[in-house]
């Protein structure tokens, strides 16, 4: 039986896709990649950069190995690595990913001087009192009233939103934007069921909750359903 090549090159309209075999040794793979790229694409005349997507299948590539492959491919005049994809994640990465994606429910009051920080989305059952702070890498949903500071997308996610049953914050922060309450709030204004997000001008806007349905359709995580 003829051995399948360790490196298969496929051309797509967006550039090249390299399928790397996931059973051979890493050394073999590197050697074959080097020779294949040198042989086949030397003749390319037009000097346009060709983006390359690398798919390593079920092989785990450490950050160093990824860098090595990137360097190897970049040496070939007009190739540039667009992405390296693998089916494999380390447990650590998977945990982190899971953490970032889950909604963390907390039932408590966040009082003056307290800071509550979560890695994913925050669902707070309780109030954030003046002087208290809630932070989340993702979105913040507050079932009670927000009277302190809320910082959504605190790791730099501009798409993050803040929603509260009663929106009377001292400050709103999303990603690196921030916004403070007007100095004089009319007490008759209720500010019930509102949300905050970053608009096209990179300003934090407070709006009624329902506007998120159109602005952030990605908030829906239900797949399929009836």
């Amino acid at each position: 039986m003829k051995k399948r090549p360790n490196v298969t090159i496929k051309g797509t309209k967006d550039g090249l896709t390299l399928h790397l075999d996931d059973l051979c040794s890493y050394q073999d793979l590197k050697r074959e990649l080097d020779s294949k790229l040198s042989a086949g694409y030397r003749a390319h005349e037009d000097r346009q950069l060709i983006p390359v997507r690398v798919q390593s299948g079920n092989r785990y590539l450490s950050p160093e190995q990824k860098e090595e492959l990137r360097a190897l491919i970049r040496q070939k005049k007009n190739l540039v690595v667009d992405s390296i994809e693998s089916n494999v994640l380390t447990l650590e990465e998977a945990d982190k990913l899971h953490e970032e994606r889950q909604i963390i429910t907390v039932a408590r009051m966040v009082r003056s001087g307290q800071i509550l920080e979560v890695p994913g989305d925050l669902l707070l059952i309780g109030d954030v009192n003046p002087g208290g702070t809630v932070m989340a890498a993702g979105n913040i949903f507050i079932m009670g009233s927000l009277k302190g500071i809320a910082h959504a997308g605190c790791k730099g996610d501009d798409q993050a939103v803040i929603a509260a049953s009663s929106m009377k914050p001292a400050q709103l922060r999303i990603s690196d934007c921030y916004n403070r309450a007007p100095d004089h709030i009319k007490s008759e204004e209720k500010h019930e069921m509102e949300c905050a997000y970053i608009d096209q001008n990179r300003h934090i806007v407070v709006d009624r909750l329902q506007s998120l349905i159109h602005l952030r359709p990605d908030l829906t995580r239900l797949e399929g359903g009836r």
Partner: protein
């Protein structure tokens, strides 16, 4: 085995010492054996409010540093037959003279002999506060209807909730001025309790008699005719487990009709 209740507030000047003195007095009036402990080392004044200043021989720091026995330092209140005692704070040192563990040991010792230990906490959240809460089983947070006092109460409640040995704190709203609450110039009772979201154990109206009584070294709770006195006595009875409705803040003499309306729940 008695229980130790710390009276705290975060902010100064909201009436912790007055509350401690009056709750201690009111509990003693109910026939309980009470020990008041002043933990405001360096700025003591529970002894002054109680009118016991000139009887102090030893103080809390003397006890903790082993210069005397507990019973030598306790000042007996003559108005009560062996029911009310005060452990005064030292005036010459500062709060760092005592460590929380020592305080806990002391309170545990007092709990053997008394039904209630009322601990008067200093303002702030530093060493003095830590000492005061170290031995406590329960906590009462005192606030006034001012935004700054409520903000500090919120902070203190947050800290108290982290203490594992203390039950969820209860709230006293002190110095209520009814006309200002009605006109909306002051936070009202509902607003404060929903904001802080802890159980209310009593409200005390602002009453000139309280200041007068304190200056004479006679806790207002001894005077049965004042509104504030009734409020403190009611709080003491709630501490003892009785369920007593909150005293209405309105002035008396509104007639039968309004009482009837209230009875039927018509506003």
């Amino acid at each position: 085995m008695g229980e130790a209740i710390v009276i705290t507030s975060g902010k100064g000047g909201v009436g912790k010492t007055t509350t401690s003195a009056n709750l201690g007095t009111a509990l003693a009036l109910q026939g309980k054996k009470v020990c008041l402990v002043d933990t405001d080392i360096g700025l003591r004044n529970l002894d002054v409010v109680m009118g016991l200043e000139n009887r102090i021989i030893y103080d809390l720091v003397d006890v903790i540093q082993g210069r005397c026995k507990i019973h030598q330092a306790l000042v007996k209140d003559k108005r009560f037959e062996d029911l009310l005692y005060l452990l005064p704070a030292a005036q010459t040192t500062d709060k760092s003279a005592v460590q929380p563990e020592q305080m806990k040991e002391l309170i545990d010792q007092l709990k053997q002999d008394y039904d209630y230990i009322i601990i008067d906490c200093p303002a702030g959240i530093e060493q003095g506060y830590k000492n005061a809460v170290a031995g406590a089983d329960k906590a009462i947070v005192v606030t006034t209807p001012e935004v700054s006092a409520v903000r500090d109460a919120d902070r203190i409640i947050g800290l108290l909730e982290k203490e594992e040995n203390i039950e969820p704190p209860k709230l006293i709203i002190n110095r209520i001025r009814n006309h200002m609450m009605k006109s909306g110039d002051m936070l009202d009772v509902d607003e404060i309790t929903t904001h802080l979201s802890i159980d209310l154990i009593g409200i005390v109206a602002d009453d000139d008699e309280v200041i007068k009584a304190s200056n004479h070294g006679e806790p207002i709770a001894l005077n049965p005719n004042s509104k504030a006195s009734i409020a403190y006595r009611n709080i003491a009875r709630r501490i003892l487990g009785e369920s007593i409705p909150l005293q209405p803040l309105e002035e008396n003499g509104k007639g039968v009709f309004s009482k009837l309306k209230k009875f039927f729940g018509v506003r």
